[in-house]
Each structure stands twice: as structure tokens, then as C-alpha cells.
Amino acid sequence: MNFDSKYFLVRSLSLSAVVSAGLILGACSPASISVSPVSVDHKTMQTAGGYQKPGAAVGFSSNYDGTTELGEEEPFEIQLVAQSAGELSVTISAPESILLGDSDIEVVQSVTAGQTVTIPVAVQAFSAGKYYLNIHTRLVSGGQARDRAFAMAIYAGSSQQIKNSRSVSSNKSGIVSISGGESVILLPAIETVTR
């Protein structure tokens, strides 16, 4: 028994539990991010934590420790669990900001239900920031193909360096304005005026 798995809020058990077990099937309940202690000797009932979209029955986990030193190669493993037998295809790619070996990683193999596919990965970053590896999976099972994407956050540099990098490279999608007490993001329009 994973003792830590006993500490979940009622509404967060559903996927937090799965996450804690390193078996983030598909894309786990995003509503279950918070993990808060309730009791040391009493669990809570699983109820809906989030209804997610259909996709490949593939679980994702990794042993990435959450920090990457600038300039240092960071090796870790990505584990994908096929929930159904079939053919699993995996493509792992990285943004230009980080190195992922010589090229994208591609794996195609037959899998049995419950089989774990382990993929060794090494990343290297030269500027601080939070970056995402893109992991695309496709499982062809029972004559049906389903895809699911997983992004994996890579934290390069110290927390302060990452914070600083965010302040100068904010990737917000618009401008926030306060108008009539309402926060809005102004999106540009193509406007045609006829008088």
C-alpha cells in the first residue's frame, strides 16, 4: 500500500490516485491536481474529478526529477503503459530551446495489455525556462486507432532563473484590460467599415 495515496481530498482522489501511482492513463483528471491531507488513517471516496476527452488507452509517467541544470545532460526514462494489446507508436520531440539527442525519438512496437514501454531520454538546455517535450502516442487496438498527446514539462535552471525567464518571455495570448469592472483580453479584429 502506498501510504501517500491515502491523502486525497474527496474530489481529487480520482486521478490524483492514478498520478501517484505513476499511471497517468491518457490525460488524467486535471481537476485533481491539488493533493491535500485529510486523515492519516482514513481515505476518501472516489467521485468524479474530471471528465476528459476520449483518446488512446495509454498511461504516461517518468522519473524526471523536475530540475535540469543548465548545460548539463539530464537523463531520465519515460514509461508508457498500454492498457490494451495492439501496436503502440510513440514520437517524442523537443522545442528548439532544448536538445533531445540527435533527433526526435520514434518507437513502434507490439504491446500486450498492461505492458510498460520504457524509453530512455536525455535532454540538455542552455537557457533557463520551462519547456515542454511533446510525446505523441497512437495505439491501434481491436481495429481501432486512438491517439493521445502528452506534454512533459522540463524545468531548466534554478527556480529563480525560471521565474526571471518567465517575466521576460511571457507568452500570454493577448492584452488584459479592465473595462467596466470586467477583465478582458483584447483580440484584434479585421474590421471593414462602410459608410
Binding site: T47, G49, Y51, K53, K130, A189
Partner: protein
């Protein structure tokens, strides 16, 4: 500041002008911009008087957005086939120079809006809110907000221009931002593309319920929303999903990872979860799922219904979800497909096949489907008191038995559709169901226990996965004749050792209480129960979180 503005204002000088004005037109009554910095000098905004007062004028126009369809074959987004679609039912406001709202309008079914009695020769701008709004017989308020940007509302902003002395029109178009190989400009169209599917969902529902009262909510989308599980405010939302706690729908938007603003079936699927939470009832525990999975029947029903509903909303049985590099990958499946990998009450594919066949017209009858245009019947059942207050859990047996009860003229056709998916529908409790998915322990769906009666054996298995898969949980029906305290106990009799049995007590879909101690191989608790039917949900905790999963059987008794 100008660099910041230029970054978001490509190409369109007229728009650039309007936003630059807003930046300069600060005021305590109407602060113009908040870029989370102190670089702006706040000044009082003063509305200038008309340069040439005259008769009132009208300003009208059409609001549209870029819509990117999928390729005819496959699931990739086809940017070459992009079309302009009208923004239907969205709120449009007329603003003065200080961004104060002067008038409000709602676009019609072709995207038209109109403001009458506008003062002549004053500076005004048109703003289109990413908000569907109705206060009529049927009412709703759905907006698209940015969870990575203080949950701010997206608005399409026109330029500050004079209202002139004659009627005029201002058409506003939201562009996709696609630059040929990637998104190179602001994705103005996305919030309106999302609302377009919500609008279709509303239209379908109000076609059979003209007084539908929708609970207001937000659809939260951002270009940063990605498939990492983490902080929602950073966009790490993992999947498009409906959150029953907040009532919000979160949607993916990060390019080359997974974007859903043009994946209409995905949006409608998540809208179904909003619908069943607010109009109907669901006992689904959510979680990961797919067409080939053998699922907890509550999950299979909820997800299969979501897929079917998406096809109903769009009148299109081909479910499509694009993702990946350049939004060029993805998958499709056909809701009309009746040949299912492992058919049954635990398959979302079986559920979607049955439910979509209820909806479709006779022109596409297939297999044993002879029911046509039965969305009214579908809606009537899922919103009925009998369905919402049933003592049994929500699943395909409950739905179909209620459909047969409420519309007995459909009984034979319903049975044919169910039988085609190897499902037997006698009643909501799945009496006489024989399809066990290859695991006899999963039947019957509801075992029965009585106070002081013999113990009943239940098993929790992980053969089909964990958390929400077939056999993780078993259900027992308990009828209480008089309100009192009762001792409910579960003890391991075979299988995985040690085990950690837990159970919950449900009454008409509401959780009464839960027994979840860490005691090995047993669980016992006193419950205060009222007269009536209760459902006991029993499971091995290790099969919920996979910490130590396995097959294990228990004896359950009540005293």
C-alpha cells in the same frame, strides 16, 4: 509598451489605433489597461462631445470568424480549407472613447448585430464578447475565458471611429492567426469557434426544451493549455475536460501538442458532461477512457453518451480529434459503427452506437436500427425525475429501461439495439444480464444483501486496468425497512493478501457515507441509514490507485 502592443496587433493598423487609444485613455472610473506593470500613467478619461451633433444614427454589421475544418479523409486540420463562419448568438457592445458600454446587442443566426439611436459624430468602437447570452424563455450565459490570464474574457475589439452623421456598418472578423506553417498571429478566431459548437449544443437542446435554463459557466481556453498535468493557471491542464466542481470546461490550445478549438466533437463531448451534471444525472467517476476499454458501467454510459451527443449536436457521426505537430495527427471513429471490439454494457462504443441510432434519421438506418429522430425521447429520459432519482447507478441499463418504460412503443426497437451490442435490458438493475466480458465475477451488476441475512461475496479485479475499469468495483443493493444504525462489514475471503477493502453507501446517486480505513483485509463501520434502497459500492483500494492492485474477493454483510 509599443513593442507589447505590436506583438499582439499584427498587420491591422485600424485595430492598433484603437488599442493604443485605450492605453492612453486611462481613468479612475474606467481604467484602460492593466498589463501588471506600473508603466502607465493613469489619466482621467474624458468623452469628447460630438463634433457635429445631428440626428441619431445606426451602426450595424456582421461578426464572423475563421473556421478550420478537418481534412475530408483523416483527422488533420485543413488550414487550406478555412472558411468564414458567422459568430452566432454572441454579445456585441458599443463602447465610448473610455470603453464604457453604451449599448448591447446579440448577433442573430447569421452573425448580424445592430445598434440604433447612436449619437452622431462621436468616437465609438464595437466590441464582440466571446459570450453567448440569452435572457429569453430559454436562458444561458456561456463565455470563453483564459485560465492562464486571470480568467479574463476574450473580446474581439474594433477601432475607435466616429459614428459619422449617417448610418454605417462595421463588420468584424476574427482571424485564425495561421501563418502557413504555424500560428504566427493572435488566434482571435478560437474563442468564437468554441462558442459556435456550444451554440449548436444549445440549439439542439432548446429544440426539444424551449424553456431550458442553462447554468452559467465558462469555457476556459488558452494557447498555453497543454497536455501536461499541473497548474491550471499555467495551462498544464492535461486534457480537455469538464470539472464538475467548478462547472467549467477546460479546452486544450497549445499548437503542435493538442488544440481543440476546431475539434467540434471534443467540445460537444465535454459539453455533454456539463449537461449531464446540470440537467441530468451522472454517477460516473470520470478518468481515462477509450473505445476499446472495458469500463466501469457508469463511465461507459457517461462517455459513450458524450460521444453520441457530440454527433447529435453536429449531426455528424464521424467523431474527429486532431492533435500533434502542425495539428496534422489525430483519430476518427464512426458513431454509426455497430461492430464493437468487445460489445457490452461496459463499452462506451456500444453505448454510443445505441444512443446515436436513437437520434439518426431513417435515411441512415443501419443494422437493426429502426428508430428515427428520437432526440426528444432521449432528452426526456435523461432529464426525467425517474432517471435522476433512481436508486440504481447511472448506466446503459438504467437509461434503456427508462426509455422503454416512458416510451413503450419503442420497446421492441430498443431491445433490438441493445441485443445487437450483447446487452439485455429487463430493468435498471440489469436483471438477467449474461454478458460478463469474460469475467464471471462481474455479474450480476447488483448483488443483494439483507439486514441480518447471509453474507454476499463480491470481487474486485484489475484484469481490465484500474480506477474506472470493469470489475474494479462491485455493487450491492441493500433495502432498509426502518431507519436505524447498521453495521456494514467487508472481509477478505480469497485473492490478494493483504488487501485493503473500502466501500461507500449511495442513496439515489448521493453518497451517504464512506468506509475507508487502512485496516488490512477488512472494513467495518456503523452507518445511520434511512428506510429505502441503498447501493453499496465495494472495491479494493489498490485497484483504484494501482498502488497494489490485484484480484481479491470479499464477503459483505449487514447487521
Amino acid at each position: 509598451m509599443l513593442l507589447t502592443i505590436f506583438r499582439f496587433m499584427p498587420r491591422l493598423f485600424i485595430v492598433f489605433i484603437s488599442i493604443l487609444y485605450l492605453a492612453a485613455c486611462g481613468g479612475s472610473s474606467s481604467p484602460p489597461l492593466n498589463l501588471n506593470s506600473s508603466e502607465f500613467v493613469v489619466e482621467e478619461c474624458v468623452v469628447e462631445e460630438s463634433s457635429a451633433p445631428g440626428d441619431a444614427v445606426a451602426i450595424s454589421g456582421v461578426v464572423s470568424f475563421d473556421f478550420v475544418p478537418h481534412r475530408t479523409r483523416g483527422s488533420a486540420l485543413d488550414y487550406d480549407a478555412m472558411i468564414a463562419k458567422p459568430a452566432r448568438g454572441v454579445e456585441v457592445v458599443l463602447l465610448d472613447q473610455c470603453s464604457e458600454e453604451l449599448k448591447s446587442s446579440i448577433t442573430n443566426s447569421v452573425g448580424e448585430y445592430r445598434f440604433d439611436d447612436v449619437e452622431a459624430n462621436v468616437e465609438v468602437s464595437v466590441r464582440v464578447k466571446a459570450r453567448l447570452l440569452s435572457t429569453g424563455n430559454a436562458s444561458w450565459d456561456f463565455s470563453v475565458t483564459d485560465n492562464t490570464n486571470d480568467d479574463a474574457l476574450y473580446v474581439l475589439q474594433g477601432a475607435n471611429l466616429t459614428s459619422s452623421s449617417d448610418d454605417s456598418s462595421r463588420d468584424l472578423h476574427a482571424a485564425s492567426g495561421w501563418g502557413g506553417e504555424n500560428y504566427s498571429a493572435v488566434r482571435s478566431a478560437a474563442p468564437f469557434a468554441i462558442l459556435d459548437t456550444v451554440y449548436d449544443s444549445i440549439q439542439l437542446i432548446t429544440s426539444v426544451d424551449s424553456a431550458a435554463d442553462f447554468v452559467s459557466t465558462e469555457l476556459r481556453w488558452s494557447t498555453l493549455n497543454n497536455t501536461t498535468l499541473g497548474d491550471l493557471a499555467e495551462g498544464d491542464i492535461a486534457s480537455s475536460f469538464y470539472d464538475p466542481d467548478s462547472k467549467y470546461i477546460y479546452l486544450l490550445g497549445r499548437e503542435n501538442d493538442d488544440t481543440d478549438e476546431y475539434d467540434q466533437h471534443v467540445i460537444a463531448h465535454e459539453f455533454w458532461h456539463y449537461f449531464e451534471d446540470n440537467f441530468s444525472r451522472t454517477d460516473s467517476i470520470g478518468g481515462p477512457h477509450g473505445g476499446g476499454d472495458l469500463l466501469d458501467f457508469r463511465v461507459a454510459y457517461s462517455e459513450g453518451a458524450g460521444n453520441a451527443f457530440s454527433g447529435m449536436v453536429l449531426d455528424d457521426p464521424i467523431y474527429v480529434d486532431s492533435l500533434g505537430d502542425g495539428q496534422l495527427r489525430g483519430f476518427t471513429f464512426d458513431l454509426e459503427e455497430n461492430v464493437v471490439f468487445v460489445p457490452g454494457w461496459y463499452s462506451e462504443s456500444s453505448v454510443q452506437s445505441i444512443l446515436y441510432d436513437l437520434y439518426d434519421s431513417n435515411s441512415v438506418d443501419d443494422g437493426v436500427d429502426t428508430i428515427d429522430n428520437a432526440f426528444f425521447e432521449f432528452y426526456s429520459v435523461v432529464t426525467s425525475a425517474a432517471f435522476k432519482n433512481s436508486s440504481t447507478m447511472t448506466g446503459i441499463h438504467l437509461f434503456l429501461s427508462e426509455l422503454k418504460a416512458q416510451f413503450p412503443n419503442l420497446s421492441a426497437e430498443v431491445d433490438a439495439l441493445a441485443n445487437q451490442q450483447d446487452i439485455t435490458v429487463i430493468d435498471a438493475k440489469a436483471t438477467d444480464e449474461t454478458n460478463d466480458g469474460g469475467k464471471p465475477s462481474v455479474l450480476p451488476l447488483y448483488k443483494t444483501v439483507s439486514v441480518g441475512g447471509p453474507a454476499v461475496e463480491v470481487c474486485s479485479i484489475n484484469d481490465f486496468g484500474v480506477f474506472n475499469k470493469l470489475g474494479n468495483t462491485q455493487f450491492v443493493e441493500l433495502t432498509i425497512s426502518s431507519s436505524a444504525s447498521y453495521s456494514l462489514s467487508v472481509n477478505r475471503v480469497s485473492g490478494m493478501d493483504p488487501s485493503d477493502p473500502d466501500f461507500g453507501v449511495w442513496r439515489n446517486g448521493a453518497l451517504v457515507d464512506y468506509a475507508g480505513s487502512m485496516e488490512e483485509n477488512s472494513e467495518e463501520k456503523l452507518f445511520s441509514l434511512t428506510a429505502g434502497v441503498h447501493i453499496i459500492e465495494i472495491f479494493e483500494y489498490g485497484n483504484m490507485d494501482d498502488s497494489q492492485s490485484g484480484d481479491v474477493c470479499f464477503e459483505f454483510e449487514v447487521n
